[in-house]
């Protein structure tokens, strides 16, 4: 449980800044290739987790381009579990943030510009404070997704006791080894927790409008 919470919390922390920037770019930006960026952001949500896990293993593996360049051994470690969770949580965060940020009235941002505020300052002082509830909802949803990550973690981070065996993987192991009581207990915990998360996210999302 603790391992799962650590992985999910770190994944969300890693997704926060790029997710917000991506969400803002998609909400406000009118740049070439916007549709492509939008599609690429969505891709990890649509792709099967096994595809993501395999790609991570090939790209970030010891024999892959990153592994060879840096000499790092990422797969089957705690950081690998965090990376897998980040990749699947980021799109959910970015899309929810995009929705929240586009709710902020353009007039207010333009008003800030005419009053001489820079774009960056406007983003910090006007846009973010107005969208904070939606961003919080994005954080909560991304956390739930990261906590529930299974497929990519199994392939890229393995299922190593005490290192990468997050709750969803523990349920899988408990089932495979015939420990149905443990499986059921973990399923109950994860279901209750996720329900709570979604309720909170919905509440935040509704009030944001």
């Amino acid at each position: 449980m603790r391992l799962s919470l650590e992985v999910a919390a770190l994944a969300v922390a890693l997704a926060l800044v790029p997710g917000t920037l991506l969400g803002y770019a998609l909400a406000r930006g009118r740049f070439r290739g916007r549709a492509l960026v939008d599609a690429l952001v969505l891709l990890p949500l649509v792709l099967p987790p096994s595809v993501i896990g395999y790609l991570l293993l090939v790209l970030l593996g010891s024999g892959g381009p990153v592994g060879r360049l840096t000499g790092w051994h990422i797969p089957f470690t705690f950081p690998a579990a965090v990376i897998a969770a980040t990749v699947v949580a980021l799109p959910l965060f970015a899309k929810t943030a995009q929705a929240a940020l586009s709710q902020v009235a353009l007039d207010l941002e333009e008003l800030a510009y005419t009053l001489g505020m820079s774009r960056v300052r406007t983003f910090w002082k006007v846009t973010l404070p107005l969208a904070w509830r939606g961003l919080l909802a994005a954080t909560v949803l991304a956390f739930a997704r990261a906590l529930g990550e299974f497929g990519a973690t199994l392939m890229f981070a393995g299922n190593l006791p005490g290192r990468t065996n997050t709750l969803p993987l523990e349920i899988y192991t408990a089932y495979l080894t015939g420990d149905n009581e443990r499986a059921l207990l973990l399923v109950a915990i994860l279901s209750a927790f996720s329900l709570g998360v979604v309720l909170v996210a919905n509440r935040l999302g509704r009030n944001a409008l």
């Binding site: 593996g61 051994h73 089957f76 199994l154 393995g158 495979l176």
Partner: protein, 240 residues
């Protein structure tokens, strides 16, 4: 909707005319079993053989959960014993079809013996919770007195072929696999062998709930016959 109806009809007809055999087998049996299936369908052209290759522990769990499997071959006696006690396989059909041996494999440039395993940063084995090869590997490490030291460096793989793949990809400096696994094809070399008395046995039996028990027994007879024995030996298995 009409297309759906046609598809349904087609499936129904197909099911009526084509008989099939679903064989769950330890993944280490993949190559000889696929070759055997070709021979079997030569004699029985109306029969379609489908394989379900996985770790023996996973296969046994599926049968306990009621998977519609006709035949089972595992890489250890213990999971088969468990099914036999639960009356899920036909005891009379049970045969030991082959033996195997564990080996230590490494990439070409990292030559290690058992005694030097502590130099490896990571060693891949099958997940001992479901993979017999992993259980044998732990038993072997126990005997070598390396288990306690090496345990934090072990990478557990979903089955023995994944353990092989992890060494091939460079995620592990060594892997403990079967002598029959496609080591050379993975760009690896066998650097050491397990002692002779650590023998792996493959039992095979007909699943009690199968609708094709007669065919299942015929398949086992083929495996035990001269053709099957020759094929298994050709793939490096030891014969009972």
């Amino acid at each position: 909707m009409r297309l759906f109806g046609v598809a349904l009809l087609w499936c129904g007809l197909g099911g009526a005319t084509e008989r099939s055999l679903l064989v769950s087998a330890a993944v280490s049996l993949k190559e000889p079993f696929e070759a055997l299936a070709q021979r079997f369908t030569k004699d029985h052209p109306e029969i379609k053989i489908t394989f379900n290759f996985a770790a023996s522990g996973d296969l046994v769990r599926q049968i306990e959960a009621g998977a519609p499997v006709d035949l089972l071959a595992t890489a250890a006696a213990e999971p088969m014993d468990r099914l036999e006690r639960a009356h899920l396989i036909e005891p009379a059909s049970r045969r030991t079809i082959a033996h195997n041996r564990l080996v230590l494999v490494t990439p070409r440039n990292k030559w290690l013996k058992w005694a030097e395993l502590m130099r490896a940063r990571r060693v891949a084995i099958g997940d001992p919770r479901t993979v017999p090869a992993g259980q044998y590997a732990l038993e072997l490490l126990d005997r070598l007195g390396l288990r306690a030291q090496l345990e934090p460096r072990l990478l557990y793989a979903a089955n023995v072929r994944v353990a092989l793949d992890l060494a091939a990809r460079g995620e592990a400096e060594a892997a403990i696999v079967y002598a029959t696994d496609p080591v050379a094809a993975s760009g690896l070399v066998v650097v050491d062998r397990a002692p002779d008395d650590l023998v792996v046995s493959y039992p095979m039996a007909v699943v009690s709930a199968s609708q094709e028990r007669e065919l299942g027994r015929a398949f086992i007879a083929l495996v035990m016959g001269p053709g099957g024995r020759q094929l298994l030996r050709g793939h490096g298995f030891l014969l009972p």
